[in-house]
Amino acid sequence: MRLLVALVLLLVCACARREAQTAPVFHADGYPEKLSDWRLLSVEDGVLALSPGVTPYDLATPLFTDYALKLRTITLPAGQSAVYDENDVFDMPVGTIISKTFYYPTPELEWTGDVAAGPSPGLSNDAMPLAAVRLVETRLLVHRAEGWVAIPYLWNEEQSEAVLHRTGAAIAMTLHRPDGRKEEFAYVVPNQNQCAGCHATNNTTRAIKPIGPKARHLNKASTFVAGFNQLDWWLAAGLLSGAPADASPAPKNADWTDETASLDARARAYLDANCSHCHSDVGAADTSGLDLRPTVAFGPQFGACKTPVAAGGGSGGRAFDIVPGDPEQSIFIYRMTTSRPGDMMPELGRSTTHEEGVALIADWISAMAGGCN
């Protein structure tokens, strides 16, 4: 095992790195004007490349954001590691930089505003060719002495640089769905305050925190290092400490698209990734009494026959969050399907309907026995 790790490390280092690049720069304060000031990613000759020390990762089931693809990276201060936690987000040292780059495959080489709902392209050997790719934004979460700070960057028209943009934006795009349907939508870049809408996962302390780097989201086969579980790889590469020696006992979310997993596991993974940052016992949506963390048992607290409290139009004319066996009468399905700003869920982060996600939750509700009394 150890030999294998060493070999893989050697291979990754040997073939992934292009020209010598400068190491990432942690800015302890301020809002640098350009993404390149952080030296995490570079664009050269039509290829996006990661700097040395910048580790890509992905999640078993991610948050849906208008079909955008996401390149996630984590950069830890030299010689330090994140500390494992079974349920909560890992404890990452000051100096950690997490980046998430939102991008789309484009049906045409010229940028026309048209984007495709596609699973690829992705990063390979720490690099991604940008032909037929549109980079939209890169959001940083930076762990400073005073806490985590969210800093948003928008990619420029030339796709050569991303520039600080803190007040949000709406970008007109046309989504090409896999079956050929086209749909105009406004891709909405949140303003810096709105980052807290998801990342202030405790609405009492309001501290900004990462959401993805949790054991259950990372516990999957690595997309970037063949033959490794991603958690094992983080441990082997020194990114993580305090974790079980191998990942098997760690919590594990299903991949929501994995049809070999149970419907319940897939649906719960989806609701976890898309809802539980607010719908928890301490999140902004604790006002609703709906708690969609994976540890919550199925019952009224998880939406079963639960009357809405302050849903307004979000009820869609339906009486209960989930009517077991009847997705058409379940508020969940209405709020996930509609794109009306006051009615839809999540409240931020999408302007289109995630039809495949809705179908999953509808199948899950259909498979339940029951009704409401």
């Binding site: 604790d286 004319g317 009486a319 006051g342």
Partner: protein, 413 residues
């Protein structure tokens, strides 16, 4: 990058949607730049800041948010400074505040797609002389709440105007220590609603032309129940608007023509109000169990019985002449005749069987109506409305009065 270059790079992205397809006519340059300025002020605010919004009408396509404690947002007047969200494409409210020591005053928020002004957790909150309005004839598509503090403590809502909400114009949820006074709520489904809240004084408000004027509710499955609300010196007249709430929401069950409604809440004192001409009943006292909600969906420990409700010295009349809903219409006709009316106070008759002592409700948990000649109808909901009776004399009793709410830190002085 120089400011000029930066503007050149950003402008096509942010304003013109990548130089292609514009969803809506471009706003004037001045409006757009002010919009960016205000968003930046909200992001960069520091405790103690006063953000002044000048006179004018400003249009926003995305919601605003504030997350810094100790900030005041001040306009030039509720009819002079208008934040319009008519063209909103994103965000569940107009302005979302997640902060304490917050004051907002003298402005209007119009036509949001969801709630107008939401304050989610915080203490020492002042909202005054703010107008929230959905313009035009009230309709179901309007946002749910106008002024909406939730999970807040030490809250003053005064001299606001709330119009057209498809749930409640002024809604205080899961909060503690609250004064709601001098407000006007009209053309909402619920005018003023206090829900799952402890210690609220609601006085000198006007609630008219809503479906229900003033509502004191407890709902199941929430972080706290509520108790101890005083409703006094208000006018809740002619709240006869057809219910335009969203089917499925609890407020959609409110009969048109409800003056003051207590549902499942405890220790509620209603006195010295003018409550007239509400066509279903001037006062309704009910349990969640007659509201058609699912018992499967209620936490087992939820107490759905209104207890310790005390009604006295209100000036009532002209109500109950045309109750909303076939059941109540039939009841009125059978019991009071075609020219008759539902009495001033309608009680659903639910009492908690687990708390009965020798077949009686303990004195402190009773519903006490001691309001001169005002009559009380028990509709006998627990027995499927089998035997509705006038119970005026049976419920004539008194309860210990609640103390006045006093806000901490000088709010409201």
């Amino acid at each position: 990058m120089t400011p000029y270059l930066r503007a050149a790079v950003l402008a096509p992205l942010a304003l013109a949607g990548c130089g292609r397809k514009e969803a809506a006519p471009a706003p004037s340059a001045a409006d757009a730049s002010y919009k960016e300025k205000l968003i930046a002020q909200l992001i960069d605010a520091s405790p103690g800041d006063v953000i002044e919004i000048p006179e004018g009408r400003f249009s926003f396509d995305r919601s605003l948010s504030l997350a810094v404690d100790g900030v005041t947002i001040r306009g030039a007047g509720m009819d002079k400074t208008v934040l319009s969200f008519r063209d909103q494409i994103a965000g569940a409210e107009g302005l979302l505040v997640t902060a304490s020591d917050f004051t907002i005053e003298d402005l209007a928020i119009e036509d949001t797609k969801g709630d107008a002004l939401k304050v989610n957790e915080g203490e020492n909150i002042i909202i005054r002389r703010v107008r929230t309005e959905w313009t035009g004839e009230p309709k179901t598509e309007n946002g749910a709440y106008g002024i909406y503090p939730v999970q807040t403590r030490n809250v003053l809502l005064e001299s606001n105007v709330a119009i057209g909400a498809s749930d409640a114009g002024i809604y205080v949820g899961q909060s503690q220590n609250v004064i709601v006074r001098y407000n006007r709520a009209e053309k909402n489904v619920a005018g003023i609603e206090i829900e799952n809240t402890f210690d609220a004084d609601v006085y000198e408000n006007i609630a008219t032309d809503n479906t229900g004027g003033i509502l004191i509710f407890n709902m199941p499955n929430l972080s706290q129940p509520g108790a101890r609300t005083r409703i006094f010196n208000n006018e809740a007249n002619a709240n006869n608007r057809k219910n335009f709430g969203h089917p499925g929401t609890p407020v959609a069950t409110i009969p048109a023509g409800s003056g003051v409604v207590v549902n499942s809440n405890d220790r509620v004192e209603i006195f010295d109000n003018d409550i007239r001409d509400n066509k279903t009943a001037n006062i309704i006292i009910a349990s969640v169990f007659s509201s058609g909600l699912s018992r499967d969906g209620m936490s087992a420990d939820f107490d759905g019985y209104p207890e310790g409700v005390y009604v006295y010295a209100n000036r009532m009349g002209g109500g109950g002449k045309n109750p909303d809903g076939l059941d109540l219409q039939a009841l009125k006709l059978a019991k009071f005749g075609p020219m008759g009316a539902i009495p001033d106070v309608l009680w659903d008759g639910y009492v908690d069987p687990a708390k009965q002592v020798d077949g009686r409700t303990p004195a402190s948990l009773r519903v006490c109506i001691d309001n001169d000649a005002a009559e009380v109808l028990n509709v006998d909901a627990p027995n499927k409305f089998a035997d509705p009776q006038i119970v005026t004399d049976e419920v004539r009793c008194a309860l210990e009065k609640l103390p006045a709410v006093s806000l901490a830190n000088g709010l409201g002085n």
